[in-house]
């Protein structure tokens, strides 16, 4: 009898602080599996965001830098320019990347910065207690949109993947979800591609990952997985928005 599934080596053997059913844990594991499969643990440097994933540096076994809110792509740029032969990735939520850090992500993408961005979109601010995010859906109730997000007052949910895909510096860009087994497998493939375009020196790689926040959505974990299908995917369609021709 052989082991067909176990904890990847790059994933730290600790209990995370994430709420029960929060899919950050799945995404962490997928990144760890990719790092293991590519054999890059010893030359990878992660950049942790501000938000629920701020403690990501405790959960993956690579070197880490913790960045100020939204600034992870700039920090990653500094690391990558200093050490071009290392693999550098950021792990950012939707408040971090799509709100306070829009300038940094747009310009890192536009420069074709050789970094990989893991962008976790759960349509809400988790760490601060469930406030409206730039990605919060129309009508979605949050702590700061108690009557549901009003487009006239708060603007539209931001589709970062579509927006960034227009930039020539971007080599790989996909939107995936981790709300069911088949989607999780696709998410892993996309994460691997986003690392590969960096390793192959092709350009900027990013994966937007639709993730759940059972606690702040007020849903059981399994219901939250369904909510991604019912509410998020219709507005945030899955797929590859940019693929380089020459990726191996």
């Amino acid at each position: 009898m052989k082991v067909v599934f176990e904890r990847p080596r790059a994933l730290s053997d600790v209990t995370t602080h994430y709420c029960p059913g929060c899919t950050h844990g799945i995404i962490h594991r997928l990144v760890a599996e990719v790092i293991d499969e590519l054999g890059i643990l010893e030359r990878t440097i992660g950049v942790a965001p501000v938000g629920c994933a701020v403690l990501a540096y405790n959960y993956l076994e690579c070197d880490w830098q913790q960045a100020a809110h939204g600034r992870a792509p700039a920090v990653a740029t500094g690391i990558k320019r200093a050490l071009p032969d290392r693999v550098v990735f950021t792990y950012q939520g939707d408040g971090d990347l799509a709100s306070i850090g829009t300038a940094e992500i747009v310009h890192a993408a536009n420069r074709g910065e050789r970094i990989t961005v893991i962008y976790v979109n759960n349509a809400i601010y988790g760490m601060t207690g469930g406030q409206m995010a730039p990605t919060t859906l129309e009508g979605q109730v949050t702590a700061t949109s108690p009557r549901g997000r009003d487009i006239k007052q708060a603007g539209h949910p931001m589709r970062m993947a579509e927006m960034l895909a227009t930039l020539p510096g971007v080599s790989y860009l996909a939107r995936v979800a981790v709300n069911k087994p088949a989607n999780i497998m696709k998410a892993k493939k996309a994460i691997k591609q986003a690392f590969m375009v960096q390793i192959d020196d092709l350009g900027f790689g990013m994966v937007e990952i639709l993730s759940t926040c059972p606690t702040n959505w007020g849903l059981q974990p399994a219901k939250a997985m369904e909510w991604v299908d019912e509410k998020m995917i219709p507005y945030y369609p899955l797929g590859e928005f940019k693929v380089p021709g020459e990726v191996k």
Binding site: M1, F5, R7, Y18
Partner: protein, 67 residues
């Protein structure tokens, strides 16, 4: 024979494994683990196919799968 092993004290009882298990053999235990949750467990291991779906949807990497 395929089997799954749970790292009981890492389980947060979110039940995603139970919901997605094609064989529907995962349930939450009566007992409480170190974290204060009812951890997931398998009652009829002989029905396990070793598909590892439970492990792939687990956000806490609780499950090890043998086949």
């Amino acid at each position: 024979m395929p089997k799954v092993e749970f790292n009981v004290d890492r389980c947060k009882g979110c039940e995603l494994c139970a919901v997605f298990c094609p064989q529907k053999i995962i349930k939450l235990s009566e007992g409480i683990n170190k974290l204060g949750y009812h951890p997931a467990t398998v009652k009829e291991m002989e029905k396990c196919t070793g598909c590892a779906i439970c492990a792939r949807v687990c956000p806490d990497c609780v499950i090890k799968v043998y086949k």
